[in-house]
Symmetry: C2
Subunit: 582 residues, 2 copies
Amino acid sequence: MYRTHNCGELRLNDLNQDVTLSGWVQKSRNKGFLLWIDLRDRYGVSQLIFDEKRSSKELFEKAKKLGREFVIQVEGKIIERSSKNPNIPTGDIEILVSNLKILNSSKTPPFTIENNTDGGEELRMKYRYLDIRRDTIKKKLLFRHKVNSEIRNYLSKLDFVDVETPYLIKSTPEGARDFVVPSRMNPGEFYALPQSPQTFKQLLMVGGLDKYFQIVKCFRDEDLRSDRQPEFTQIDCEMSFVTQEDVLNTFEGLTKHLLKSIKNIEVDKFPRITYDDAISKYGSDKPDIRFGMEFGELNKVTQHKEFSVFNSAELVVGISVPNGNDFTRKEIDKYVDWVKRPQIGASGMIYVRCNQDGTFKSSVDKFYDQKDLSDWADLVKANKGDIIFILSGNTNVVRSQLSALRLEIAENLNLRNSEEFAPLWVTDFPLLEWDEESQKYHAMHHPFTSPKNEDIDMLETNPGRVRANAYDLVLNGNEIGGGSIRIHDKNIQSLMFKYLGFSNEEAKEQFGFLMDAFEYGAPPHGGIALGLDRLVAILDGNESIKDYIAFPKNNSGKDVMIDAPSFLSKEQLKELSLSLKK
Amino acid sequence: MYRTHNCGELRLNDLNQDVTLSGWVQKSRNKGFLLWIDLRDRYGVSQLIFDEKRSSKELFEKAKKLGREFVIQVEGKIIERSSKNPNIPTGDIEILVSNLKILNSSKTPPFTIENNTDGGEELRMKYRYLDIRRDTIKKKLLFRHKVNSEIRNYLSKLDFVDVETPYLIKSTPEGARDFVVPSRMNPGEFYALPQSPQTFKQLLMVGGLDKYFQIVKCFRDEDLRSDRQPEFTQIDCEMSFVTQEDVLNTFEGLTKHLLKSIKNIEVDKFPRITYDDAISKYGSDKPDIRFGMEFGELNKVTQHKEFSVFNSAELVVGISVPNGNDFTRKEIDKYVDWVKRPQIGASGMIYVRCNQDGTFKSSVDKFYDQKDLSDWADLVKANKGDIIFILSGNTNVVRSQLSALRLEIAENLNLRNSEEFAPLWVTDFPLLEWDEESQKYHAMHHPFTSPKNEDIDMLETNPGRVRANAYDLVLNGNEIGGGSIRIHDKNIQSLMFKYLGFSNEEAKEQFGFLMDAFEYGAPPHGGIALGLDRLVAILDGNESIKDYIAFPKNNSGKDVMIDAPSFLSKEQLKELSLSLKK
């Protein structure tokens, strides 16, 4: 037996007990005649004391030689500390050690195992097993487990059944690139790793399982952006005999349960906004609504004067920054420069100061009078003491520029409080989106998403305006989930494939099994998939997902710790009937 | 809203309620003036009634046209059945339908959606989504979910933390073949899919997570035997600061909890047997101990006479079949023929009838007297009325032949009761096993398994006799799990690699990151992995795993429903820098 207790559980009322502890040497303090060691394990830190008087000489000498991260086992008696540490739960006691066994030695770690480490990201990733010893990373992994458990138990209680769908499936050219897996037993053929279990969960509904969930790894061979992973985890759900309302209520319930059980936060009914409104009010389909600064469209009240910048613009749109009139000229210029950076790409920005006396001072006073500026202030809901920022240009471009500015300002003004949670449903997404490259419409969500009944006729006449029964769950400006009511009618499904530019043969080749399934009594069904990595990070008050993944990959898709991917042996390639192209 | 209730919950005390139900038409019975329809969903079956008098003509005609597996929604009132069905929970009531909506039609299914279907395995697999509608398959998937939930909650309560390890890892030539995944971003390089998260769980222990579990898919590119799958699910666990005793007790606790919570069966402390004893008593390292028939070794009492078959044998070994003296001559001959089949390969079998009067009658009476036969009977623990079967030959061969015969007889005599559960720990497995093909020793469990301290010296002198701190959990003759205490000392690990024939470079190339990790204070640790697919099947009284997997692959590793694996497009291959060899 290696221990009677862990390093986090001993208290004053355990005094005088004989205990055995095991753990890592966090640090030691040597006072010459006294030696303290902080012994660490997953559960906490306990202080060990060695004493020239009370410890044997041999034991004292052995203890002096312990290095950081040595693994040791000690026997001793719990005594009261003379100088208590109120910052840790075990801070009232220490263990007077009578026996010490070194279970394993350690080289000096390449970075300090402390919350604020001196290790850079690359070093931390190479020695991820040491990084995980740090309290800050360890807690994030434990937090993820807690969220995971709460989700499973909540959904299980609602009769959702956890079904494992296959990982070795069929490659489909739709959407992002698949990772593929050569089949040795079927030379020349490949499996694909799932981008999501989409078709399988629909087949489970056809199979009558009624409510399905799975917390499942998914794979996308995409060029990686900074916070994307080639493998990621999805909370994948599907329900039969449901309307959009049923799905939204169910997963609003789940999200509320998580906020309550994990963060002890009660949230009212989630607001809902249509995609069109989100775009015009926030310039984004995943608006952060922890703060205001809604867009005000100003075409009507700006295009009647001689200011050609506005007059030639498709859209003139502004936001009001609370108390922004406090900005110095230098601060304003900084924001003007910020929107003119190539990443944002605005050609300039107009501002209007809203003075406390009700007057306005703008950078376009030459063109507009106080009445004009007052109209603008009304439309962007500016108060005295605010500042109004106005951009103009092509509608889509200018909305996304102003959306970026809105978030930047909120960040700077500390309006994005990570312990505040503002969930939001965005509904009525467009069914299709135009792809410039292929010059055709693509499914915005996926090809199984149902169009709104009242819009079906527009598929012929105005496909870009057809709305879908599709919805996203947005939390603090992040899309944490999305779903839809699916098509269960094979005729509508065929129509969809037609409008997506699939020939009958292509549709049959790629989705034949699903279309077949729809011939045998598919029930109405719909669902949602939530990104677990991001959900966990946001619930824990962070936006970066990497530290919530035990062994993440870097931006080149590499695991630098195990050195993967790597080259295969010639024999392996031969067995797979493959050769490499230069 | 598609339904107010499901099809399994309505009872007599819901009488006169107006309800809405949705589901599938299981079958209809048309009496001309009365029409009953069994409406099915995941939760049960409710009877609908349409009536020439009480239903509108239009409704009645519409109902008559409904085919099997049509998806419908009905509104109606709950009434009491005149002829009740005590076999189903909803059997006291029926729904007098006032409104009927066809949600989807259905072609005639290729096989009947009944517990006893007329569909063969291949057809069922091709239309797995229809197969899942059958109660028998659906219940198996729900059962799996229940086992899964119980495991997670039990381990979570014990502070095990669920950590997701990566699926895209590094290929290692050790053990079975890896499935590999070409990396597009790193041309010519490949990931591998994990055969198990073995190294990652050990790194999590080095990382201080203390107790880890994961229910995780694993992959092996093996030639498939009848009941193996290329992807399978493992309950993967690891603990730090533990001895073998700690691990066995923890997972004995889990298994007991499952038997209690799922089957309501209490099991005493699990018996333990060493590998050597299991082999000599049962000829198997996964003995089924629901019944006796232990081996009796007979060399001493058989090799003193003129019977050259026994005299020339390395091992003479027998079992006593309870009440086997009732076997007819024909039945005995059938068993003699059975062991002589090429799959078993015995050259013959000796039997001894144990008569009720205490005398013996054997097939070798020419060579042995009653005293000899009585000695044999003692050694195989035969009672009056039993029959003794004896095989002889090479020790390993004859043990495995007799083991097969023992199971065959038990099967025929119904001694393998699938509702009886006899768990067993097999301990002290050999560390190494000799591989004829490569003419070297292989790790029996894996190269991280620790040798028993007292046997380490034999690594030089008698490696085949070195025992490991390795154990298997056996349930009803099936290995459902195996594990070991790992090596945490880098010197012993290096020694192991040396005896396994790895050069320093090979070891570093393949396991360098793990050996590095062991330099930084690896704690003593050990663990176990249980096969979820098989565990679930056995708990449910079955031995075949296929129907406990929603979408299994066939024996060629193919998913015949989605038609995977399949060929890639030229563009896909090109992007992956691959070409196919003929």
